[in-house]
Amino acid sequence: MSSTSADFTTSKTFLIDTTKCTGCRGCQVACKQWNQLKAEDTKFFSGEGYQNPPLMSEYTFTRVKFKDYQKNGQNEFAFYKEMCMHCNEPACASVCPVGAFKKTTEGPVVYDAKRCIGCRFCMIACPFGVPKYEWSKAFPLVRKCTGCYSRIREGLQPACATACPTAITYGSRGDMLKEAEKRLKNRPERYHQAIYGKDEAGGTSVLYLTHQPLDELGFKPVTKRALPSYTWQALRLVPGIFLTVGSGLSLLSWFTHRKERIRREELFKNSKVEPETVNPETKEESR
């Protein structure tokens, strides 16, 4: 994957300003509605705060995570929307043996269910733990946020971004990065000075601004290097290794069999037998 020169500034990107999130979970509901996802049977307090459902799953592509913290002796909530990061160079797309994932030019990373063989390598690869599996089915497929690709194609915004009253802004990655930097610069007391998603996994199409330090909120520390490059540095050597081992062993065999070959030829030369010949004048065979 040599797309280090690829330009993602025009990729459609989410800017999620968690300092503005009210925890209304309109995004969760809109996503369920748009994707026609089942509701899950849960308990009310199944995580921190009012966090529900407890986990992302085959039926839940996004959820708001709650974080309780203390500020000036007061109990406070922080919220952030967990979702597929729609990475610039997605790990899922690089490991899928049948190429079922694709980073579209518009921005979302989309999944072609018709190709999927259900091997679950994408689930191992994704550093954010996004793809989920249809464990309830006899012939399961992978499920994840679609980036509302069909809506994007029609000029709409994703369902969650449309529903969100405060926190989500949606636009080109270049614009969203500029906006994020602007907010960080203008109100440094409001924001933790970092944009999660700017460099994580080589850069994603979901950018977060937070008030608390990232690990306190629960953001996973993820490598800044695009994940496909870890694999490619080994896989790119495959043709070379094949040729080297093949030709090396061929050469070795040629040498080690040489003695035997020479001995056989000597024996044949020294044997009393003459090869059959045809006398060209009489056309007679002689031994």
Binding site: V95, C116, L249
Partner: protein
Amino acid sequence: MTAATRIIINEIRGYHRFLKFMIALVGLGALASLVRFIFGLGATTNLNDVYPWGLWISFDVVTAVPLAAGAFTLGAIVHCFHIKKLEPLVRPAIVTGFLGYSLVSVGLLLDLGQPQRAWHTMVYWNVHSPMFEVSMCIMAYTTVLFLEFLSPVCEKFGYHLPLRVLRWLEMPLVIGAASISTLHQSSLGTFFLIAVDKLHALWYNPLLPLLFWLSAIFTGISIIILEATMVHRFMGQPDESELLEVLTKILPWVLGVYLAVKLAATTLLSHGPLFDRPSLLALFVAEIVIGVVIPMVMFMKRAYREDQRMQLRGASQVIFGLVLNRFNVSMFGMEQADQAIYYPSVIESLVTIGIIAAHVLFFVLLAKYFPIFEHHPETVDYSIPDHAHSTAADHGHSPATGSGAVH
């Protein structure tokens, strides 16, 4: 009941108790597979979104592939390095390899969510995916093994023409086998390079593919030692410990290179704390000490190399170390500190046990009904019977080559 069925059933009735036990285990495994397909992966396995890969990937794919590595290793040693002495060990190694790789495919088909779409890898290509590479290589290599396995089959039924073709193909097949195997043995390690923030630093480093390839080589050699010793003990085959000594001489070198690369990679190339999880550290130490250091030191002494019991013990330790290493990389090292531990369900275990039993069962049966252990000097003349002319004297075969067909 036809005559054929009656013959087969009588034959099975005469089998040793051990074989009947294997048949029972295979039957249980088949039943468990049926249950898996009826109720689905979610209901029958302990896999979940945090641990999408479990026993079937860890053992039936990531471990079983290097366990079947004896075929290409021995093929290269005998035919490329031309250590002809070890020839009698080649054929059983090929059978082990063929069975092993075929059973890997069985395990894989059970683990896939859409096994009926397994052919998709042949049509939809993603050259950036190590799984694509492994699946292509394994398909190619199983074909090679099948062709190599055809030799004893053709010998049994007296098909001389295929035998001549196969003999002509022998060197290309051996070299092809070693090249293809190098690719997929190492690519199984490449699988885990993407799990950069998930696999613990004790095992994660960029040289994983090299380590997987080296360990496949010394494991293949050890499986040959184990198998030759077992067939001597239980199947009335001659004592090959003299031949095995050649292999035990090679082992310390491969183990030594592996140890050096592993220690260098772990100390110099890994990112992240090495000593933060005591249970993982214990597994790492066990894998290295039991599986690499002790056998390596053992086989540096000639007395241990020549002694049949020590050969078996050392080889068994290496194999144990390999199994532990593959589980460490694909399962234990992937356990996240803050999540519940994965352990296989009953169905998962029954299937894996059934697959192992199938390997043992079919190896014994193939050895029973096909010329696996008969030495087959390569100078045997598989002449095609010439029905058109009566053949008079020998057509100038030099005395160095033998003659006479084998049946």
